[in-house]
Symmetry: none
Subunit: 274 residues, 2 copies
Amino acid sequence: MGDNTHIRSMLLAQDLMATTSDAAPERLARSAGQQPLYSTLAEMLSREIYEGKYPPTTTLPSEKELTERYGVSRQTVRFALRMLRERGLISSHPGIGTIVREPVRTQGRFKALNSAEALLQFVEGTEMHATSLREIIVDAELGEQIECKPGLLMSEATFVRKTPGEDLPMSFVKIYVPPRFAAAQQKPIVSNTPVYQNIEKMFNVRVREIRQDVTATVLDEELAGILQTAPGEAALQMTRFYYDENQQLLQVTVSFYPRSRYTQSARFRVDDEA
Amino acid sequence: MGDNTHIRSMLLAQDLMATTSDAAPERLARSAGQQPLYSTLAEMLSREIYEGKYPPTTTLPSEKELTERYGVSRQTVRFALRMLRERGLISSHPGIGTIVREPVRTQGRFKALNSAEALLQFVEGTEMHATSLREIIVDAELGEQIECKPGLLMSEATFVRKTPGEDLPMSFVKIYVPPRFAAAQQKPIVSNTPVYQNIEKMFNVRVREIRQDVTATVLDEELAGILQTAPGEAALQMTRFYYDENQQLLQVTVSFYPRSRYTQSARFRVDDEA
DNA sequence: AGGTATTTGTTCGTATGTATT
DNA sequence: GAATACATACGAACAAATACC
């Protein structure tokens, strides 16, 4: 991140100027070891859209104009726009231009290979109450559980998930994030935007795949206390691995659902053979 | 799609040649009004992967080689690979190459379930040892569990499910069948054809949808004895409802999987919004 | 350990096609 | 039909990550 800041502010200043002057735009080059140029540009445009510079239903400057304004090639512009398109921020239409889309509900984004939307729908409309945040070194046992090499540094945050109307918590969640994305964990005490969405926004990546392992466990005294259940109650233990399109691990969550508070339901359809 | 066929067969023939000869590959051009070239190429590669030409964990030919083999630019190859990557078929790594991914992860006690087919196959690969068979009147508690009205007559069979080769049973299963299909339950003591297949064959119906509810439980003495586990061990309790295309209930199964013997694994992908 | 070759990632330039105004 | 804007496709070059000797 560090050195990128000056690039972005440079870009911003230049961008603001470009709207009011005809000054020849300076060339922009990627500093060594930084994020790709198109990624930086996507971040910038995304921020400007959120800030209201390009309101929904209006069009962005054309690709040609963007290449001139930022002094980058059309390919770079297109790659940046592609990222925004994949995040649902814009839509592109030949002959028309690039239109800023209305912010959409993030629900329904997840469509399972096997149709388990019901499985993730409950994430909406729940409150996450942070209970701890720390950095840990992965030991052998945890490494086994979250499938990463022992000795690695990870950021661990713990939460209690509550349904807004309910008194008793629905589940206890531990979220592990690689140090690269740790900044996304610095959040308010109570939140209802999932951590992965913070990572997506802050680091310009996208969750493309989730693997979920389900097993059963018996709640120990500590967990039973946190969840306010009878000690010894059975619980579902779900481990979810979030990956981007390059199989890069973005986060791992380990959740405990007491049997009395949650049942997972999924539907499978049998296809006709072609 | 129609006219595309000749292009693809041309590509295929050329591809097969290229592996055994040094003949200069013919250039390929997109016919008017067709799908993009990279899209056609992606389709081809995808099919070849499914057909086993490029098995999982092996690498695809390098981008340079693909450009030569198909006579297209590197950009076209990269766009095609990008499509496959977004579908989770491959992953790319600088210095290494493009690796064909395993369709699912299947190792140890982890079994992947991503579709009804996988679920049904999973059932087929196991041995069922019958332990009891009787007719019962559904009481209030069971009615709640299998979602049918108390007072109804159902045929109940119980089994121990074993992986061939393994000593210890994997799970304990109770199968409930409505009286009109009860004849399908009259079976040998040891079997590996699932009950639902008997119902399909005998009554000329087909399973079209399966709903699966998952919760956790603690094994009681009786179940621990049957499953030969430590009493008090946690277990996954899965209830599956089998329906035909008219939403007619064909059978209900209630299974208990000790935590040490089975973990359910599923993979979900996130789609782009169109 | 070090240097070279290979492979994917990024970026530029350019040309042409297609859809809309 | 002409102008505009995005989509596809080619070529070329360098950077970064990895493998091999």
